[in-house]
């Protein structure tokens, strides 16, 4: 099993005729993902790599059973596109678009709550269930994807798209496969945080351990630590938090939009302290992750 999707999940790509979408649709199809339909207003009736294009999501969902929509339209149109997917009953919406203002994002997420839809992103590369499907651009071309990602027991969540691949590559080369790897998105406000996705991994019998990649900024790691302390989890967690040099550079934004130190709880030192206190194995160097994962798998101490 995997979380969020499986080999049969039917994917809709909004903005499918855009340069990047054309490219990742090719890669997804090569990997075996079921890209069922696309939407680009005014391009209805055409196709992209054999995938039929419609003018509206409404039309696409009438002809296909859509499990997940990928929003790959420019930032100025992203809110409308996400609204369109949600209002047409798509249960999972992956917003790959970057640079969407937070107010638009907050509105999308509120509508998603009302309609009981889940949002991944924005500013995500998507997610992959190795050997089954991939949604969005994660992993790149299929021949490269299979080098970095293999099926296995590790659930991966990363605030960086590129580091999703990096971390999985590291695991794969240590003989550790992944159940599902999710690029959760680099923005300050995203639809599914570590805290939202952890319960899904907990319910997935295939997942035995979770690895997270974090950056400075935001209160999600602090909230995760609180959650682990109060509720606990059956899954051991291994975390790496990049950007400790930013602890002494408050107010300067590096990397992703959400990566900025504004207060004490935003710093790497504070995040690491809180997570360690909650029983998380925090890696000092990225390359320590596989050993910590192996250690966690051996311990098998249920902490629930």
């Amino acid at each position: 099993m995997a979380i969020l999707a499986d080999a049969e999940s039917q994917i809709l790509v909004q903005g499918i005729t855009g340069r990047e979408a054309v490219s990742f649709v090719r890669d997804s199809l090569d990997y075996g993902a079921k890209v069922a339909a696309g939407v680009t207003p005014g391009r209805g009736g055409s196709d992209v790599h054999g995938v039929p294009v419609y003018d509206t999501v409404k039309e696409a969902v009438k002809r296909h059973k859509i499990d997940v929509a990928v929003v790959a339209v420019p930032a100025g149109f992203a809110k409308d596109a996400a609204f369109e997917a949600i209002e047409n009953g798509v249960p999972l919406v992956v917003v790959v678009t970057e640079r969407i203002p937070r107010r638009d994002v907050a509105q999308v997420l509120e509508l998603a709550d009302i309609q009981r839809a889940r949002v991944i992103g924005p500013n995500t590369m998507g997610f992959i269930c190795p050997g089954k499907t991939k949604v969005g651009s994660v992993g790149g071309p299929a021949r490269d994807t299979v080098k970095a990602f293999t099926p296995g027991p590790v659930g991966v969540m990363s605030r960086s798209g590129g580091m999703t691949t990096e971390v999985c590559n590291l695991l794969t080369h240590s003989g550790l496969g992944q159940s599902t790897a999710i690029s959760v998105g680099g923005d300050a406000v995203i639809g599914s945080t570590f805290l939202d996705l952890l319960p899904l991994f907990e319910q997935d019998p295939e997942t035995k351990v979770v690895v997270t990649f974090s950056e400075p900024g935001g209160n999600v790691e602090a909230a995760l630590a609180r959650y682990l302390k109060t509720k606990g989890t059956r899954l051991p967690i291994v975390s790496f938090i990049a950007g400790s040099f930013m602890d002494n550079m408050p107010g300067v934004r590096f990397g992703h939009a959400g990566s900025i130190v504004e207060g004490k709880q935003d710093t790497v030192a504070e995040k690491a302290r809180r997570l360690r206190e909650a029983g998380v194995l925090v890696a000092d160097d990225l390359s320590q992750i596989p050993d910590l994962v192996k250690k966690a798998l051996k311990q098998k101490t249920p902490r629930k």
Binding site: R103, E110, E166, N169, R253, F254, G255, S287
Partner: protein, 397 residues
Amino acid sequence: MRFYEHESKAILGKRGVPIPKGALIRSADEAVGAAKSVGCPVVLKAQVLTGGRMKAGGVKFAETPDEAAQRASQILGLEIRGQKTQSILVESKAQVVKEYYLAVTYDPVAKRPVAIFSDMGGIDIEEVAETHPEHISRTHFSALLPFSDFRMKEAVASLSVGGRDLSTLTGILSRLAQAFLTHDLTLAEINPLGKLQDGSFVALDAHIDLEDEAIARQKPLLTEVGMGPEGRQAKERTPFEAKAAEIDSSDYRGVAGRVVEFGGSLGLIIGGGGASLTAFDAVRRHGGNPANYCEIGGNPSVRKVAALTKLIISKPGVNKIAVVMNVVNNTRVDLVARGVIKGVIEAGYNPGEKIVAFRIPGAWEEEGFRLLRKYGVEPLDRKVSIDQAIVGAINKM
């Protein structure tokens, strides 16, 4: 994008938040007239885009216009957390009986706007949250549904504020929240909001941040405070950083920029966002001496990577360069390799000597690796992690 205090106050004042009478000055001579017009005693506050002014001596009081001029000359030119003070806000000093904290921001866990209210204003709010959590209320509200004041009333009333103060504070917090939503702010903060002897309120300090991504659609707000449509840089760029930014904007393809200058001898060409943080941390952690931070990503052109490489390798004090990225999905390894080699050669150096690490596995790696070997650079493959590549580079320094 952060606004100066005087800009934040002008913006909030126009939207119904009570602000003190004030004047902006840029020289000590102007302080006399400013103090007379706003009325003594006055407070003089350095206008910088950072906190910690009080500790740094950037806030002073004066009883007379002449004293104001004296204090102004002490504040002007003062460096506060790396920023030189170029202007001062002169305000009449208010007689405050109580201080409140009001702020609106986004809560990434709840994914909603949140109004934060405290009756312990004037001090660091994180400290209040730790030591006196019962003196803070956090009230989420909708960014989607029409705004309604009652949420703000709940925020204020939850700290047992009643009577006339409840209505007044509800009004001020509502105006702050509406400005926050309407103008794509990521933070709108009044700390402190002072209650005066006559029962009225005034925002003694204010700080607002505009979302960078929304600058394009908030041009009227920038115009309102006399700023150009492009906004402003958070930190003034060094000439080296400015040149890197120029290289990045010279070509729309990919990113080869976001350079921050440090003083060391190891030049870094690193990316993408998360991997740059990881690689830079590794340099620091393992005793390396970085010359710069940077981010490359997307699919930058050969010309752009070459120009960036040339800039970094030519920087005085730089001996070697390390090129490190995460396993790339969309960036083409061969194009980055070509750019780096070209940049090193154009700068007049031998790639085999200057490049102490080249670790970019991923798309088109075979082609890239072949090219690197041709120029005497042994590429590191995906079995070598980011930090291991950095350690190797440091050992070759």
